[in-house]
Symmetry: C2
Subunit: 389 residues, 2 copies
């Protein structure tokens, strides 16, 4: 039997930590650095798998926690596993759901054994442990599975220490529990916004035989500068030969910053969620298509974009769909946003290959106006409040 | 300049009034009899134009009344017309909106001049007249446009007579107002559920130079037997050389009954609306995918269906999407339902061509269990109430 998972580094950038590589999985190869769109419920929201393929995406995420609750991991297994269930024959990664379980309103008890919680769907009580999380991920059958970790608020030192310590214990238990040789298990670095904890976490997990490393607990509302500082101390402490996955990050400007700091893999609900709110990416920044200024605009979202949406539809039509509450508006915006991020990563890979990554980064960031930090923090805060009420 | 619209009859069935034909339009040909899916707001709900093409649909409907209210007919015209606006380069038919305007809660006044109503979107007051309806339809630019008519309740004789009389006056005014030579204008027969009125309406409109004839005011809650009786008296009074369009009818069993009675064109929101409620067509009848029995069912909706949905997804996955509130469930069900009806019409055309329409009808109806009449009437009633409250 051939090696089920292999990570190969083709090239290391000279002026940054950026690197070019490839993850081989039982369902195909993923060129890195890469952005993977999120399909929490075994569907990248609003898109058919064929539409996802056409964005250029090579891998998608699904969420083991959500699929455990509904339709159930055994059901997915009986139906042939996640790839067949969602008709995505390419690489899939499942997050264990550590992040989701700690975001729950009905969290009942956390101790070293695991997490006791009530299902937000039917109120039933469940105990999630590292062993259970791995069992669920093995039933689902993704190519890459994540260890069960504990998240913490970024700026609570005592909580960050406890969550990190527990994450390390659970990481060991996940490795013991994991049996399927065709799945690659990644560990997850924690440590809040504390450089010393991040370093400790990265070194501790590096000692364990993980196939790759997620960097968790970032992009949860802390200032971006702090996130970059954490990456800068963490990445050098991880094994150079293993892929590094910055979990939950997907703003265009952040992809450049992450790649520069040695990240190989990103995921985020940002492109799909923004699309459903009418916000779309362009090389100059985000547009909100609900704005009245687009009511008669015959231009596509982005003149230079080759996606199905930009090739066929005007901003005026897309705005009309949003105003009329038509599902097609969500679909077309999602196609564009996912294509934009996936395509940006392809440009980044080409630039690394041709020794011009730093100049691509500079020219992209010069042209692109990110959403202001203040607006971003406010909307992250609002989002957290919405989830917790 | 070539004839912009032409209807050719290839063949007349021997044992029924079914006939095989073709409508040529400036945007391509439509083989008849045909089912056209409805895209009220310039979008066949949930589908991209490419997905609509893949169902085999050759023509789609849009609604002039809805598009007049939003985004505005001038806006659509300025953006290149309806075909370009919605990226559907094939034939389009616009209904004038007579049916919609009379369903409005905010109907203010109806007289011979026209209909005064308030917009359900912003409360603004509007006067819709035959001349205005044609102006709107000319700005939108569909290949086939419908005259502005007045609907009536099926079983109120006085109202049916008045609506019919007014519909005939308005038909004359629509013909006078209509200028664009590249659009075919169809008249609409009214007369409620009264055979003598239907005959009078069909004869009166036959005297007017319409390119085709809609049969309106049916399938609005009356018993189906009554609908077929009305068709039986109406069709023979219409010019044999013109297409006949049974408006708002789309249940599989009704397509057979309509074709037998000489109908060339059907439209209905049924396949798209049912799909969004989780109901899908099979050769045996409708299934509701929300039912628990499908939770672990690995079969496609219909084993013999070649649509994208049936080729890739299990009933269990489709049910999961519905349970999780995922948009993709609506998309995949809609693809299937539209493909089913469009494909059924292709089978019907092949059967007429091969002199076996009556036997196809018999075998289809023997296998297919329609939703019971009582259930149908009840849900039509519920739907009307929902609309009027």
């Amino acid at each position: 039997m051939q090696t089920p998972f292999r990570f190969t580094i083709h090239k290391q950038d000279r002026s940054t930590r950026a690197r070019l590589g490839r993850m081989d999985t039982p369902h195909g190869a993923v060129e890195t650095p890469v952005f993977a769109p999120v399909g929490t419920q075994a569907t990248v929201k609003t898109l058919t798998p064929r539409q996802v393929e056409e964005t250029g995406a090579s891998m998608v995420l699904a969420n083991a926690f959500h699929l455990y609750l509904r339709p159930g991991a055994e059901t997915v297994a009986r139906l042939g596993g996640l790839h067949r269930f969602m008709a995505w024959p390419h690489p899939v990664l499942t997050d264990s759901g550590g992040f989701q379980v700690f975001s729950l309103e009905n969290l009942r008890r956390v101790n070293d054994e695991g997490v006791l919680f009530r299902s937000p769907i039917d109120g039933s009580e469940h105990l999630m442990t590292p062993e259970k999380a791995i069992e669920v991920e093995e039933l689902l059958g993704a190519d890459i599975i994540m260890a069960f970790d504990q998240c913490s608020l970024p700026l609570d030192r005592a909580q960050a220490e406890e969550a990190m310590r527990r994450t390390h214990q659970w990481a060991e238990r996940c490795l013991v529990a994991h049996k399927r040789p065709d799945q690659a298990l990644f560990g997850i670095v924690q440590g809040g916004a504390y450089a010393d904890l991040r370093v400790e976490s990265a070194y501790t997990l590096s000692e364990m035989p993980f196939a790759g490393y997620g960097i968790g607990g970032l992009s949860v509302g802390e200032p971006k500068e702090l996130m970059w500082q954490m990456l800068e101390v963490t990445v050098p402490c991880l094994p150079a030969t293993r892929p590094r996955y910055l979990m939950g990050v997907g703003a265009p400007e952040d992809l450049f910053e992450g790649v520069s700091r040695g990240i190989d893999l990103f995921d985020s609900v940002l492109p799909t969620r923004l699309a459903r709110n009418g916000a779309v990416f362009t090389r100059h920044g985000r547009l909100n298509l609900r704005n009245a200024q687009f009511a008669t605009d015959p231009a596509p979202i982005d003149e230079h974009c080759g996606c199905y949406t930009c090739q066929h539809f005007s901003r005026a039509y897309l705005r009309h769909l949003l105003q009329a509450g038509e599902v097609l508006g969500l679909v077309l915006n999602t196609i564009h946003n996912v294509t934009f991020l996936v395509g940006l990563m392809a440009e980044i890979r080409a630039a690394i290959a041709e020794d011009r990554f730093a100049s691509l980064k500079e020219s992209f960031l010069a042209e692109y106006t990110p959403v202001e930090e203040e607006v971003r923090l406010r909307s992250a805060e609002l989002y957290r409040r919405r989830r917790s009420t």
